[in-house]
């Protein structure tokens, strides 16, 4: 059983890598994957605390988060495909229709 600090540290590192990916990369697909990574970092903490407290709530919510992540990916990838059809790009910098 790993110590709580190790779990929190790992989750923090994974979440930061995901946040950095969303902020730094300009490819919409990689940004979506980084968002998934952040959800997984949260899942690790949920499961670790479920393990510590011995209750089932954390594992149940981690399962629900997994389902929400799947729904998010389905809609996000459909948006990417529609975007590619309309604008012929997946680069976030090219999407400046709302820029004044």
């Amino acid at each position: 059983m790993p110590s709580p600090n190790a779990v929190l540290l790992l989750s923090f590192v994974l979440f930061s890598i995901g946040a950095a990916g969303v902020l730094v990369r300009r490819n919409v697909l990689v940004m979506l994957m980084s968002a998934e990574l952040m959800l997984n970092a949260a899942n690790i903490v949920l499961i670790a605390f479920a393990r510590h407290s011995g209750t089932v709530a954390g594992q149940a919510f981690a399962l629900l988060v997994m389902g929400f992540a799947a729904a998010e990916v389905a809609v996000g990838l459909a948006l990417v495909v529609a975007l590619y059809r309309k604008r012929d790009t997946v680069n976030a910098d090219d999407l400046d229709l709302l820029k004044g």
Binding site: M1, P2, A6, V7, L10, V13, L14, I17, G18, A20, G21, V24, R25, N27, L29, V30, L32, M33, S34, E36, L37, N40, N43, I44, I47, A48, A50, R51, G54, T55, V56, A57, Q59, A60, F61, A62, L63, L64, M66, G67, F68, A69, A70, A71, E72, V73, A74, V75, L77, A78, L79, V80, V81, A82, Y84, R85, V90
Partner: protein, 185 residues
């Protein structure tokens, strides 16, 4: 050698965690989107290993099924659809020449992992991984039947979020089809 393997087996969470960090760094840092998806797959499999080493066997397996089986394949489809025209001239010969060298390395890795994981996977179940309320834990060995324990907790206490999730998945399914279909048909 035995001491090294034993210490690795005791710290499986850290091993999987470091590998997950490496995979996610490869995901963020790689230039080609296909390599990004492969790094994402590696990171998700190692997160599943973290779940397993935290005593959530059902969730670890669900993670492998949902991510490696569903989401990564979906990402790969879209990457192939969107990025293929740009990456064609560059990525053609990346894997063809290396396949012969990669296979023994992968097999050796699997064998080493089997040796390391053997004790952790087939050893005694850890006590008190999960404690259910007395009312819903009747006639169930909670420490050994993680899937049944999670499902009893889920359907006893969290039925409403579960049903809401099913409605959201249905909406996402219909929405994804409506968004992605071409407008002429």
């Amino acid at each position: 050698m035995d001491a090294l393997l034993a210490s690795i087996g005791k710290n499986l969470f850290l091993v999987f965690g470091l590998l997950a960090c490496g995979g996610s760094l490869a995901m963020v840092g790689s230039r080609s989107a296909v390599h990004s998806v492969l790094g994402f797959l590696f990171a998700m499999l190692n997160v599943a290993g973290c779940f397993l080493s935290l005593g959530a066997e059902f969730l670890g397996m669900a993670q492998i099924l949902v991510y490696a089986g569903g989401i990564v394949v979906l990402f790969l489809f879209v990457v192939m659809l969107v990025e293929l025209s740009r990456a064609k001239n560059r990525d053609q010969s990346v894997f063809a020449g290396q396949a012969r060298a990669v296979l023994p390395v992968v097999l050796a890795g699997i064998a080493a992992l089997a040796v390391v994981v053997k004790d952790a996977a087939f050893g005694a179940a850890s006590p008190q991984a999960l404690v259910l309320r007395p009312g819903i834990a009747e006639g169930l060995d909670v420490a050994r039947n993680n899937a049944q324990a999670v499902s009893r907790g889920l359907f006893a206490d969290y039925l409403l979020p579960f049903e809401v999730l099913s409605v959201i998945l249905l909406v996402a399914l219909v929405g994804a089809v409506a968004l992605a279909k071409s407008e002429r048909v």
